[in-house]
Symmetry: C2
Subunit: 158 residues, 2 copies
DNA sequence: CAGACTTCGTGCGTATACGCACAACTTTTC
DNA sequence: GAAAAGTTGTGCGTATACGCACGAAGTCTG
């Protein structure tokens, strides 16, 4: 039974280590590791709805909202009315947000280097692939109580 | 730059997916995913100090303390005076705690199966190894430019 | 077009995940 | 042995991470 829990525990340990390291690294910029993820996501695709932003992070929409409130207050992001959907709001980086993100990207370099340095280039690639496979499997809503071992990430029978 | 952040993002996504899935799975037992980790750690080595428990989880000692308060209140763990060190307290599972853990272990089986099912057996092994490598690298206090770090016991090249 | 259903964002409550400062205690040092 | 230094647990503050319920607005029925 210990062998079976090795993978989940290793995943947890690795993520928490990454998170702690990043947190320490970004602290002097007054930005958290998760705020960095949010800013990075916006840097790659601006003017997303909060929902879409949350989906890409990936994080819970209500978590993202809490983060946006803090970031908006500090002028790093702005939220505007959606052009066509009046329920939604679009989120974008401000000029200050873009500047901050560039600083953070540089500041985070040693952490990424530390991760990558522990692996062969091919291993890094492989690791990313395996993690994605695992994440997809876990997100594929496959078995709350049924037997259907649908190995593809599609819908479940209603 | 997108390629460089792929691995950290994939790690984050995979962990969060695991966490969400586990959380949902354990909810009906009124136990969180992290409480499960704590109980599992105690199940593997009882009568640890809070510090040692935190180290093995791995989690922050003050986080572990908060968790212990909740779990103790519910009678799943107990904290006793340490036999020789009067600063420390030893933590153990109660009978109810052991029973709960067995239930949780079973309840969590589908999640582990879902993870493992997405991988070849050899891949699972490899993934665990790579994650451990990454975690070790991140925890190895290599200090890329700091000055005020001297606490941890790890080696650093000077 | 009206009702049902879905989706978006908000607000609230709980549990991590930490850092930091502090008191009590242990170990080391001189 | 007493002072210095280190360790253990506690308490506090902030930021996630989420679920759930709600109102508002969009979409889909008939």
């Amino acid at each position: 039974m210990a062998t079976e829990s090795k993978l989940p525990m290793a995943l947890r340990a690795a993520y928490l280590a990454l998170h702690r390291r990043s947190e320490a690294r970004f602290a002097r910029y007054d930005v958290t590791a998760d705020q960095f993820v949010l800013l990075a996501t916006l840097a790659r695709g601006d003017a997303l709805t909060q929902r879409e932003l949350a989906r890409r992070m990936p994080s819970d929409p209500s978590t993202v909202r809490a983060m946006l409130v803090l970031l908006e207050r500090r002028g790093l992001v702005q939220r505007d009315a959606h052009p066509t959907d009046s329920r939604a709001r679009t989120v974008s980086l401000t000029a200050a947000g873009r500047r901050k993100f560039r600083q953070l990207w540089t500041a985070g370099e040693p952490v990424r280097a530390q991760m990558l340095g522990a692996l062969e280039p091919s291993e890094a690639e492989l690791l990313a692939r395996l993690l994605t496979q695992v994440a997809d499997a876990l997100n594929a809503q496959s078995v709350p109580a049924g037997r259907s071992n649908s190995h593809h990430s599609q819908k479940v029978e209603p």
